[in-house]
Subunit: 357 residues, 4 copies
């Protein structure tokens, strides 16, 4: 007797739809520029040319980035009461002219406020975008967006390009120029969501020949996980103890790697690995949160809960790059304790983002 290839059958099953979920890695576009195409990394996704197209996955995604009724209908079907939207990746971070980036950030925040938070206050909040090409301006815009527009925090798509033509001329958030931004973030006490973007082109030798794979998830995740490790090592979290950082995709692999990374740093020569004063796991456990955006796998969820605790892991989707319905079907069907389910579904988000809904 042989275990044959499994055959696929279809079943009609009951799904207990868990109502009242909150999702916080939810992408929108800007009326002022195509934020999904500021950087040429999307060419291997079906039908994607950085512009709306017809009849393809990419075109549908491009359309859904802007369509509020479609988004609300999908949220209703999926039991998602409230979404915190943010400008899609690479967004402002991929704008090569710094002054343009500053202007686009401000105008886009105004637009997100009008279209989402003000128009549908019971359904939408937003994370501000800022131009890290000019950190002083980023700090100012963050303050304006939070205090005047009610932004729930700020979302940054990893490193930002700088204003030269060299596509490896980038800036990471821990670098000295970013100090004004961290000071403001620390003062306002709103979270920073670090969203993935593809590694800089020069970093992509590993994925030569496999562009979709690079885009797909692994390169994004490791780029973003490495960025978070930089921040931990830099000491910025010692200087700004109120800073809280949210990562998507169950913290981009860090639950799997963080213990070993910490252990290995014991071998480092002094002064070669940043000015941090505490252990990597201290920063991870005290400053970081994770969302489930784009993850539909129990073992990954449980690896995240094991290292972060169920009070620091949050439901999310990454709509429209992921399906609200599929993510909800997976999440709602997880055999979790009721209190765990509620913490992940909405209670953690309400506490961390100070949502009054």
């Amino acid at each position: 007797m042989v275990i044959t290839i499994p055959r696929t059958t279809t079943k009609t099953v009951e799904v207990e739809r868990l109502e009242g979920k909150i999702a916080i890695e939810e992408a929108v576009n800007s009326p002022y520029f195509n934020a999904a195409a500021t950087y040429p990394v999307t060419q291997s996704i079906k039908g994607w040319d950085g512009m709306p197209a017809n009849g393809t996955v990419g075109a549908d995604i491009m359309h859904r980035l802007d369509d509020v009724p479609m988004r609300l209908e999908s949220m209703d079907t999926s039991g998602i009461s409230y979404a915190v939207v943010s400008l899609t990746s690479p967004g402002i971070e991929g704008v090569l002219d710094a002054d343009t980036a500053v202007e686009l950030a401000r105008k886009t925040n105004d637009a997100m406020y009008e279209k989402y938070a003000k128009a549908h206050p019971t359904r939408f909040g937003f994370f501000a975008c800022v131009a890290m090409q000019k950190p002083e301006e980023a700090a100012k815009e963050l303050e304006r967006a939070v205090t005047q527009l009610g932004a729930k925090g700020v979302l940054i798509n990893g490193y930002c390009n700088l204003s030269t033509a060299d596509l490896d001329d980038v800036r990471y958030l821990d670098e000295p120029a970013c100090e004004p931004f961290w000071a403001m973030l620390n003062k306002l006490q709103v979270p920073l969501y670090i969203h993935p973007r593809s590694p800089p082109p020069g970093q992509q030798r590993m994925f030569q020949g496999y562009p979709a794979l690079a885009l797909a998830s692994f390169a994004f995740a490791t780029e973003t996980g490495g960025h978070a490790l930089r921040i931990m090592c830099s000491g910025v979290l010692d200087r700004y103890p109120n800073v809280r950082i949210i990562l998507g995709h169950v913290a981009e692999g860090l639950p799997f790697f963080i213990h070993r990374a910490q252990e290995r740093l014991k071998l480092a020569v002094e002064n070669t690995n940043g000015a941090h004063t505490k252990s990597l796991m201290y920063y991870f456990n005290n400053h970081f949160f994770a969302t489930l955006a784009g993850v539909k796998r129990a073992s990954t969820l449980h690896a995240g809960i094991a290292e972060m605790g169920e009070s620091r892991v949050l439901f999310s989707v990454d709509y429209p790059y992921e399906s609200n319905e599929e993510q909800a079907d997976w999440f709602d069907s997880l055999p979790l304790a009721t209190s765990t389910h509620r913490a992940l579904a909405s209670e953690n988000a309400k506490r961390i983002l100070k949502l009054d809904i």
Copy 2:
């Protein structure tokens, strides 16, 4: 009442030492060249200058790479009966002259055979090294090492440098030139261990300013995990179905990422992501194994078992870069079922490497 900073106390505890363990990611050096320094990536490890030094971590590691009595004593203390040794990273892969690489591989295999497998047949086996700079030669040397010297398989430290001065001029194992190597591996039915090495220098913008971090684990792991994803996508495992691949460090994060990577590839444009015919998880579940080398964290172990099964996860240490005693203390104390403990400790290794000990 406040939870204060935990205070550290010491306790004398009983450890049930699990005897008979087998370890298979265990590094040795070559008498013919310093295999730990063929590529300039080690300068941020304490006391390491690519040459033996005194009184430092690096010097002690360098010494232990060669010292057999010290290794055996440490194995005895730790309950490790048998070790499969291999040439330390980057080894042959970092040799820039291809003909030299071929010669060093052959002479090093002879040396490992004499010093370890022949001299201590009940305690040591070895994985061959090969020069992927010349894949035909690699295939020949693999055959010789396995059939004449009794090598248990082959260990490759990731991409190899090619014979130009450009340090980004590298070759990954899935690239067309490597076909003769895969054919031989498929024929011999011995496993390939893909050991980490640091990403090529041009890939390291992310870790600029944090050299120890890059070395420490994260960059190594993501470089190696990405390499494994390339191989899955390339179709090489369709052409060579007998190939089995072992990864260290609980499969370098793939248990955490593999499901999402697979899901995301559904969005890829056809013909942009390799010639594979099956799902990523099919390859991962049918062709891959993982060792615990360098991991001392329960959640990481359990993430690996969840996606690979307890029959595909193997104890290992990465001596002398890790401590046999510390790894054994952690592993032996895990509250596992006896049959699980035994599978990981030795039974899986015996089956996969066809050990007759």
Copy 3:
């Protein structure tokens, strides 16, 4: 915003049907007596009066106990290739006249052989029933059933009633009279499946007023788990080291309790707790196996794997008391590693029962 009561929706989902599963806690009736009604414990199950009825759950179950085509169709739908059937509980153990019990056991084994194993050798095997009211006879019948009829082992429904009218006059398997049975089991090296039955009537003060609850699961499980603990403590497994015991329902709670039970016995006065020489966890890890019969909960499965290992946990259903289809839908959809899935689905059963199919 409030988390409301989840609403139930229905979805059509794909189920990857895992073919080739083996199930080994699968009940049949005897043509010679109603084995489901030898003991008056079933009156609170819908439609059950100890006799076939119409239009009710109980009647359907009674019918399915005997209907081979219906059973095969259900197995086919569910991807179950092979079932080891056994006489339904309480079966022979509830027969109050010892000589009758001996006779019924022999005739029932012949009948199970003819109707299942001989008629459908690629689909069915069977576990023998024996009359522990007369352990010498039980040993003889076990030998006959295994060596002449090809029984895969023996299944016993817990304690047996003895031949007095006192319904608390029962015998547990560790009691001295049972020695001949253990000797034969040890010699034949086939497994013993200890199937639950309700606690003796005198033990049921706890469930007074809640008969269905008692029947449902908890009382059955704790009765059977306690029985297994008696056997461990008795020393019988020291005297008969080849004995292997299978428990249903993920080992009836023992994975949850076994460590604490062992720890607490350290407080026991000598000679008050059986003649065992090893720890409870030693017996549990070396002599016991568990099936998933009647369990459809991931946390229970994982508690079992954690304490027994994936090589000692086996798929099963408990048909017709449970649904083949529902059990298969749950099991096949578990996000397990392929090798784990296969071990539980069929490989463990083939190894433990020496199935040549």
Copy 4:
């Protein structure tokens, strides 16, 4: 090569002592009667005769029940800041004369208040004891203890004996006579801790010949788990929705059994299984909490967290029947996320018991 019997070595290890833990299943005796010996079930524990003895485990336990400085020293060593003490089992519940039970409960509560809560307000609280032999009196005493003495809740050792000589003449908490008690509990909104006691003597056929086993854990746990299932089925939690119940020993196996028990009740004849209106898992997830008292096994802890959530599982010891130091060593060393560790260590207890410390 053979896996030999593990040899035991000793190691000096660092334990990070987690300070500020709260423990809430911590036994004390009464100055008015030996509460550990009101019911003859303790004869198989070493040195135990229901009275203080010398030089034995039992004698040491008896001494420690009363010795406050010894208790405080042990708490200090173990990082336990605060303990909620309660009268040791079987306590008031084993007193056969109802009027005596009423008087002893009141006097014992006064004594616990004076000796613990009043004398050491930053270190001790207490759970009241009540005489369920007279539920109206129990309700009155509960109110007095909570409102006048500051009791943090009430602890009941399972069923109580009634005032006849028949040792099976017992009352479970769901039985109609107990209504006044539930009404008061619901009004006061303090938790009820149901502590184990051994099954009534008539229920102990299963453990005949194995008295220590019965005492050790399994019989206690299944008696208490069954009691909790009775309460769920009875409908009392529908009538008194504020009631919250704490169980020890990771909820006495219910995390393992609850899903299956719920599924099986679907087969029950109507009106044979209590007046409850919701699912068993609803009650379990919304009304129950668990402590770790006496559990030192990761898989049991994780089974509990899986079904209850990390916000409903609480550290505890069961001192002096368990060692504060051993329990703390195990708990403090668990590789948990910091937030999970803190929730279990103290935050959950503070929230559930409304502790202002």
